[in-house]
């Protein structure tokens, strides 16, 4: 079969992160010819998930010094006299990488071999032997059951390429931050929990009732407008008599979609939460089996099914311009003419703009137990709002074998938080969470920061060139769909964004 790239396509998309994958799917689905490229040998860029071995390769790649790009003679030959050429960027997206096996990982553990004999092995050896069973998210997020991501997955039928589980446990700190406890968030849980007094149960129920009505006609509701821009806690305390742990349940956990909320954003967050409760189960949140790295791949598959062409692990050289418009890319030593080029922030030439510079801090821990033991394995989100600055939107996502993220008996604990005032708050949080006697053992630790923010175009950026945003700190995917759809509608206003697939006959 011919291994050469086509001479012309409608759209070239560079980078296979989630926003790029969604856009590729949308273009291909609407009949545009798509060439989708990546320098990496894997799909997903910084939206990927890795096993232990591929994680090490990823770390190695991201620690490499960036080399200056040079324009070779063979590229120059492909540029005509009235055209100009600019190299794709290779902008660093991952910073401050630090990986270590902890002292605990050298501890010996008794394991049974196949014949039932007992032998001892270190935790590290046990884990490394099971390297394939890990699926470690570079960008862990959750799907809101009635959010735009689930809507898009369903409409486009991309949902058939993946499986999802409910994030069944919502946790936050209570009793003056000394204890982690389960947040009751539906009627029966609130009724049954022993975390709340009878009076508080009634107050929470009353507040939920208020939210339901508020979501329908907030203009007619009383007692909230004067608090709209004030803190949510103040509103909850003053109007609903919700204080202490009960108040934290709401501000930290149920309103987790909007960290550091005002009364207005807090109420909106609670309403989005409530709206998604009971759609696929009691929990409003879904998580893809095998990790978030599945999602970009699923959208890429849709793109491919509709004829999109994929080439990974490819040298992606640069852009050919004519009269300040993009006319072609050079990749793998070939020229491909195109009408549009869309890239991830990594590939954007600096001349066309840069990211605004925010960072998201991440910590990934492999542990030997869950942060809060229960009979069954759980998928949990723990709000860290009370033990870190609330603007950081810090939280912990923990899952294990049941989500196909780790070998049986081990957990992945994923901490995420925006960097504020040049400080990585997650380090302190991690110590607080894992340094006590009875906390789970941390066996492996990976810390890094990833570029966030928005892309600021320069005046020189061509009108048929665009950059999609990097992963942000938000817990759910809504923004990703919104930004991909916005760009699609801007370039192709007459086309439908990911409409329903063709009817299939069985």
């Amino acid at each position: 079969m011919d291994d050469s790239l086509p001479d012309h396509v409608d759209v070239v998309i560079v980078g296979t992160g989630l926003p790029e994958a969604i856009l590729a799917a949308a273009c291909s689905r609407s009949g545009l010819s798509v060439l989708h490229l990546d320098r990496n040998p894997f799909y997903g860029e910084n939206w990927a998930s890795f096993n232990l071995n591929t994680l090490d390769e990823w770390i190695g790649e991201n620690k490499k010094e960036l080399s200056e790009t040079t324009v070779s003679e063979s590229i120059k030959e492909k540029i005509q006299a009235d055209e100009s050429y600019i190299s794709f960027g290779d902008n660093r997206q991952i910073f401050d990488l630090e990986k270590q096996w902890t002292e605990d990982s050298a501890t010996e553990k008794v394991v049974k071999n196949k014949d039932g004999e007992e032998t001892t092995s270190t935790y590290r050896a046990i884990i490394e032997k099971e390297w394939r069973r890990f699926s470690i998210d570079i960008t862990p997020k959750i799907l809101l059951s009635r959010g735009t991501m689930v809507q898009t997955l369903c409409d486009s039928e991309v949902s058939k390429y993946a499986e999802f589980k409910c994030v069944n446990r919502l946790l936050c700190f209570c009793d003056g931050d000394k204890k982690i406890c389960r947040v009751p968030y539906n009627r029966s849980e609130i009724f049954e929990t022993d975390q709340l007094s009878f009076v508080d149960k009634r107050r929470i129920m009353k507040f939920m009732q208020f939210c339901l009505e508020w979501s329908k006609n907030q203009d007619e509701m009383k007692d909230w407008k004067e608090f709209a821009d004030k803190s949510f806690s103040e509103f909850l305390a003053t109007v609903h008599n919700l204080e202490g742990s009960t108040q934290r349940f709401i501000t930290d956990a149920i309103a987790i979609l909007e960290p550091n909320p005002t009364t207005l954003t807090g109420l909106q967050a609670v309403c989005r939460f409530i709206d998604s409760v009971g759609v696929f189960g009691p929990s409003p949140f879904l998580y893809p089996l095998y990790g978030c790295g599945e999602l970009p791949q699923c959208f890429c598959r849709l793109c491919a099914v509709f004829g999109g062409l994929y080439a990974l692990h490819l040298q992606v050289d640069g852009i050919i311009l004519k009269e300040n418009k993009v006319v072609a890319v050079v990749a793998g030593g070939q020229r491909v003419n195109c009408d549009h080029i869309i890239t991830s922030p990594r590939y954007a030439p600096k001349k066309f703009g840069t990211l605004s510079g925010e960072l998201v801090d991440r910590a990934i821990l492999v542990t030997d137990d869950t942060i809060l033991k229960e009979e069954k394995e759980q998928i949990s989100i723990l709000s860290l709002a009370s033990i870190s600055p609330p603007q950081c939107a810090a939280r912990l996502f923990e899952a294990g074998y049941e989500s196909c993220l780790a070998p049986r008996g081990y957990y992945l604990s994923q901490l995420t938080g925006a960097r504020r005032d040049d400080k990585n708050y997650l380090k302190e949080v991690e110590e607080k969470l894992y340094d006590s006697e009875d906390s789970p053992r941390v066996l492996m630790r990976l810390r890094f920061a990833s570029a966030a923010g928005s892309f600021q175009y320069s005046e020189e950026s061509p009108t048929n060139f665009a950059v999609l945003p990097p992963p942000n700190v938000k817990l759910d995917y809504s923004d990703v769909i919104i930004s991909s759809r916005e760009l699609f509608t801007k370039f192709w206003p007459d086309r439908d964004f990911l409409p329903r697939g063709l009817p299939t006959v069985e």
Binding site: Y43, E157, S159, E163, F164, R187, I274, Q297, C298, Y310
Partner: protein, 217 residues
């Protein structure tokens, strides 16, 4: 909705571009053949329900969507697959040699207990044959898989190949081996977990059947 089958098996087709994976798939699912398939566009998966020893087995057979062309099959493609057909073209040496690479891919990304089968397609083109039957046989022995030569064009051994693969999976499942979950495989485990309604299209269907229990407040 009443279930019209006893088992659902997810099968994959894998192999180099142009070996005839989509033709094999169409022959089996629609009993049709088209010489002019250039590359795969718009084929996601096909479904056919077969009877095997009194059981109705729904085979969901996935095509590569052309992503094999630059060796860019997604790892997600392998998830939950219970059987894989590795296809080469008997008139194309390279496609035969690449079977080894595809097997390496499967070993890294698919469930450890996935059933595999090697298929030498286009056996109607005897005059252009470059890979002997023996070499195909030898390779399958090396990897401990079944082997068949097929022709999607002449409808030779296509039924047999899918039936054999399905029978092997069924046998393994009924012996209980299918319950052990390998890497990348949800085989067994997921079929039993009724709390996860969010699989595949159910994600959409269930939207209408559940109601927000907050309405009760």
């Amino acid at each position: 909705m009443a279930r019209t089958y006893d088992y659902l098996f997810k099968l994959l087709l894998i192999g180099d571009s142009g070996v005839g994976k989509t033709c094999v798939l169409f022959r089996f699912s629609d009993d049709s053949f088209n010489n002019s398939f250039i590359s795969t566009i718009g084929i996601d998966f096909k479904i056919r329900t077969i009877d095997l020893d009194g059981k109705k087995i729904k085979l969901q057979i996935w095509d590569t969507a052309g992503q094999e062309r630059f060796r860019t099959i997604t790892t997600a493609y392998y998830r939950g697959a219970m059987g894989i057909m590795l296809v080469y073209d008997i008139t194309n040496e390279k496609s035969f040699e690449n079977i080894k690479n595809w097997i390496r891919n499967i070993e890294e990304h698919a469930s450890q207990d996935v059933e595999r089968m090697i298929i030498g397609n286009k056996c109607d083109m005897e005059d252009r044959r470059v890979v002997s039957r023996d070499r195909g046989q030898q390779l399958s022995i090396e990897y401990g898989t079944k082997f068949m030569e097929t022709s999607a064009k002449l409808n030779h051994n296509i039924e047999e190949a899918f039936y054999t693969l399905a029978r092997d999976i069924k046998g393994k499942m009924e012996r209980g081996q299918g319950q052990t979950v390998g890497v990348g495989g949800t085989t067994g485990r997921y079929q039993q977990d009724s709390t996860i309604a969010a699989q595949g299209n159910n994600l959409c269907k269930n939207r209408h059947t559940f109601h927000c229990d907050f309405i009760a407040f």
